[in-house]
């Protein structure tokens, strides 16, 4: 792997230096933006020695995610680690700094007709490191999987002052434990990913999105089931309620000559008025639809993700509709990835004592589903519970893992599941 940028490399995007003033109400005393992996490791080692708590940040598009930190002294921005380290279009592999924004990376890839087939909320702005840390994904995971499935290697800075690598620049590799995937979704609590290698894929030659209004959630779910069991093999398939109205969206990809016909087939499986968007408009429709799923605190908005097995999504939506009436919550937005089994709500809590009402809502949701994550909520409201849900039965193994990698709890202390 080359380390110096060449004609295909070089930095992508710019540093805009927007660092958060605080995280969940805690204000750091220091901001740093290291320029190299080794500098990140030095900062961490220094923090470990001095007993400081460090929060790594990328673009800040998911800063609301996690429990309020136990402590916060230093915010470490990955903004200067944004170069394309290596990109071999014929090998379908890419190595990029953690601070690179996904939108900029996609631009570089698109010049060679390639992409990372992921569509996380506010993904264009999000950084590669942030996406690995949070593990947040979008509707395309139905067919293409998540960043976890594309991750083939990482370089990571540790509180011990070392930089380690795992995996490599080949798409198949079973040399040792699969550390890259363990870092994925670990919220930066094991180390700070400084660069990552991915398998990339050819851009779909054409795409179309078919949308249709639905008279009820039952009708929307039924239509989604018809599409899912058809030959269409959708790239994404979501049922949604926005401004009180139910609708369905299906994204189709394939050859230019094929996609039009597939869209017609999809329309035939839907009931009532349909609309079709193609090309860039199709992609833009999904960006717009998922923006409200971002783990960003806006006013008193609460964002919750509920995950169930795919077969249970219809029943879950029905239960949520009933719960909404019983609990007097105002769900402004509901987005459900039907084949995935994931439902994201953006809601407001009416009346007095919203913190305890949120805790009660969460308890009620946990009776409907095993996995309930409060992705964003006002900081004060999050203090009464673990936003990640019930601790798993393997929490002791996880604590041990944390202890092996970050024994003095430098990285994001308290923010992860089980307040790791």
């Amino acid at each position: 792997m080359r380390s110096e940028p060449d004609d295909r490399g070089g930095a992508v995007g710019g540093i805009d230096g927007e660092l958060p003033a605080s995280i969940d109400g805690l204000t750091p005393s220091t901001f740093v933006a290291p320029a190299t992996a080794q500098e990140v490791a030095e900062v961490l080692a220094d923090a470990a020695e001095r007993g400081l708590a460090v929060a790594p940040v990328g673009a800040g598009t998911a800063l609301a995610l996690g429990n309020p930190p136990d402590r916060l002294d230093l915010v470490l921005s990955t903004a200067r680690l944004r170069e394309v380290i290596d990109y071999e279009p014929t090998d379908l592999v890419l190595s990029v700094g953690a601070g690179a924004r996904l939108g900029d990376v996609q631009t570089v890839l698109a010049e060679h007709g390639q992409e990372l087939p992921i569509d996380p909320p506010r993904g264009d702005e999000a950084t590669i490191g942030g996406l690995i840390a949070t593990g947040l994904a979008g509707p395309r995971r139905l067919a293409a999987g998540t960043l976890r499935d594309l991750l083939i290697g990482v370089a990571v800075a540790h509180p011990s002052g070392t930089v380690t690598k795992a995996g490599g620049m080949v798409v198949k590799n079973v040399t040792g434990f699969d550390l890259p995937r363990i870092y994925h979704g670990s919220l930066g609590t094991l180390g700070i990913v400084v660069s990552a290698n991915f398998k990339v894929l050819p851009l779909p030659r054409a795409e179309a999105t078919v949308t249709a209004a639905a008279p009820s959630w039952e009708a929307a779910v039924a239509a989604a089931e018809r599409l899912r069991s058809s030959r269409l093999d959708p790239a994404a398939l979501d049922v949604m309620r926005r401004d009180g109205a139910w609708s369905i969206g299906v994204r189709l990809m394939g050859r230019e000559a094929t996609v039009g016909g597939l869209a017609d087939e999809a329309r035939a499986l839907l009931v009532g008025e349909t609309a079709v968007a193609t090309g860039a408009e199709s992609a833009a429709w999904w960006r717009g639809y998922t923006a409200d799923q971002a783990a960003i605190a806006q006013g008193d908005d609460v964002v919750v993700r509920i995950s169930v097995r795919p077969r249970a999504v219809g029943g879950l939506i029905g239960s949520l509709v009933r719960l909404e009436e019983e609990q007097e919550v105002q769900v402004g937005y509901l987005g459900a990835s039907v084949g995935v089994g994931s439902v994201v709500l953006r809601l407001r809590l009416a009346g007095d004592n919203p913190a305890s009402r949120l805790a009660a809502l969460r308890e009620a949701l946990l009776t409907l589903a095993d996995q309930v994550v409060v992705l964003a909520a006002p900081s004060a409201w999050k203090r009464g519970f673990d936003v990640w849900g019930r601790p798993p039965e393997t929490i002791d193994v996880m604590r041990s893992l944390k202890h092996q990698f970050d024994p003095v709890r430098v990285l994001n202390p308290g923010r992860f599941a089980g307040r790791i």
Binding site: A48, T90, D91, L92, V93, R148, D149, V156, H158, P159, S160, T162, T164, A166, G168, V170, K172, V174, T175, G176, F177, D178, L179, R181, I182, G185, S186, P202, L203, R231, D233, R255, A257, T258, L262, R305, S307, V308, R309, P310, G341, S342, D370, Q371, V373, W388, P391, P392, E393, T394, V397, S400, Q404, F405, P407, V408, F416, A417, G418, I420
Partner: protein, 486 residues
């Protein structure tokens, strides 16, 4: 604990039919599928054949109490020594846990016990329109549990990904005997991705007693193309052209002249005997796309110098074209008494240069090497042909392997694409990983198995897990900071 009381206690858990302890019964467990001489062999003290998760947990608790090593084993088809009980102790053979517990068409999942044979799962689900995508060449014999342990691949992982992309959750017996679940039907579970840690961990972190795996809908249409080329270079070049055109086939396999000469007379798959190399390219998807892409790929191959391009859509014709590829290893017996099947990966663009190097190594060591491999993802399988009764042959094979491995790493490749490290390649791990990199991996091992009893002496360089690991950087740092919480 002496051997007699160990066997007595194991029989107390499993009944007399569930424990092998006579030397003659243990002999077959001394090996896995590797060539004699390429990996060490070792005899276990006892082989256990549990039928339930609770029995596995009881065996592990007993081993934990007695401080005995535990090695899990599936069908024993592995090629890196992973299922060999390097330090003796107890082998937990999972072949009697072979039930498909549940197939859920709505969720597109199957819940299986670890002893289920890979191909059996797909054969069971195909009539319902689904299949289990990982398809290692040993799929007629290998178990899903083994696939999880080694993160197995196969020809179709070019499009569909390897085992880790298809495992949603695992029931695991941890080294202390506890039964836990990682992952599950619903995604988004809290905490670290322990399922990711388990897949490919070579039995060093826990024993999988159930796997929840993803089922993939069978494609509407499938097309197999056979393209013959004058030499391996032209075939590699065509591979890059196909990928460069923005096409990711379901599978893209390359066979060289030596392989063709071994398989064609034996299986009559229809490979031209005078070809220097053939590509087997499979594409699948909706019927319109498959037809058009087939024509596109055929045109690319002809432009890249293919002397012949044939295509097959009917199942029987496709199976025949695949038969030569799938039976390639079996056919090698026509060329030499023994073969050593290597597994390395290089970036796809480095394939032509790597194949040249393999050819040089073949000539230097006077060792015929056949190449049959997953060209689409750069996963090489040089097959070294030899006769182990002939003095010096095994040594030459091992020397040649070493040269190949060194070269692959030099050009940015990996030590193994799908076979695992085990004991076969553990001493090469330092070619790709530094002491710090290995310390991070040891951190994973220590979190799951602090006593180091699960499948000892695998993956880490010889001697590494015996003491050095205790000086892990995390511990070193904790001591530096005056913390002794370990």
């Amino acid at each position: 604990m002496n051997r007699t009381s160990l066997v007595e206690r194991l029989e107390g858990i499993l009944g007399p039919g569930g424990v092998f302890h006579r030397p003659s019964d243990l002999l077959v467990y001394e090996y896995d599928g590797s060539v004699d001489g390429a990996v060490d062999t070792a005899l276990p003290a006892a082989v256990t054949l549990p039928t339930t998760t609770e029995q596995v947990a009881a065996i592990v608790r007993l081993a934990h109490e007695a401080g005995l090593p535990v090695t899990a084993r599936g069908a024993g088809t592995g090629l890196s020594g992973g299922a060999v009980a390097q330090q003796g102790g107890i082998i937990v053979s999972l072949t009697r846990m072979d039930r498909i517990v549940e197939i859920d068409r709505a969720d597109r999942t199957a819940l299986v016990e670890p002893g289920v044979i890979n191909l059996e799962l797909s054969e069971t689900t195909l009539p319902q329109g689904y299949f289990f995508a990982p398809d290692p060449s040993s799929q007629r014999a290998c178990t899903i549990g083994g696939n999880v342990a080694e993160n197995s691949g196969g020809p179709h992982c070019l499009k569909y990904g390897v085992t880790t992309n298809h495992v949603l959750g695992l029931e695991v017996v941890l080294p202390d005997g506890r039964i836990v679940w990682t992952g599950g039907h619903a995604d988004g579970g809290p905490g670290y991705d322990l399922t990711a840690a388990m897949v490919g961990s070579e039995g060093m972190l826990g024993i999988v007693t159930k796997a929840l795996v993803r089922l993939t809908p069978a494609p509407e249409a499938t097309l197999v193309l056979l393209a013959a080329f004058g030499d391996v270079d032209a075939a590699s070049h065509a591979t890059s052209r196909v990928i460069g055109a923005g096409i990711v086939p379901a599978a893209l396999e390359l066979m060289d002249a030596l392989t063709i000469q071994a398989v064609e007379p034996a299986y009559h798959a229809g490979y031209p005997l005078d070809a220097g190399a053939v590509l087997l390219i499979e594409i699948d998807g909706v019927v319109e796309d498959v037809r058009a892409l087939g024509e596109e790929i055929a045109a690319i191959c002809r432009e890249a110098g293919a002397t012949e391009v044939r295509s097959a859509t009917a199942q029987a014709e496709r199976d025949l074209l695949w038969k030569g590829r799938k039976m390639a290893l079996a056919a090698m017996g026509r060329l030499a008494p023994n073969y050593y099947l290597h597994d390395t990966v290089v970036p796809r663009s480095k394939l032509p240069a790597t194949l040249h190097r393999v050819d040089e190594i073949s000539r230097h060591f006077d060792l015929p090497i056949a190449n049959v491999f997953h060209a689409g993802d750069g996963n090489l399988h040089p097959l070294m042909l030899f006769d182990r009764r002939r003095a010096g042959d095994v040594e030459r094979v091992l020397e040649a392997s070493k040269e190949i491995l060194h070269y692959c790493v030099e050009v940015g490749g990996a030590l193994s694409g799908e076979h695992g490290i085990g004991t076969e390649k553990r001493d090469y791990v330092t070619l790709v990983y530094s002491a710090d990199d290995l310390a991070a991996m040891a951190g994973i091992k220590n979190s799951f198995d602090p006593a180091g009893c699960f499948n000892p002496e695998k993956l880490f360089p010889k001697g590494y897990m015996c003491g050095e690991v205790r000086a892990l950087r995390a511990q070193a740092m904790a001591q530096k900071l005056g913390i002794y919480a370990f």
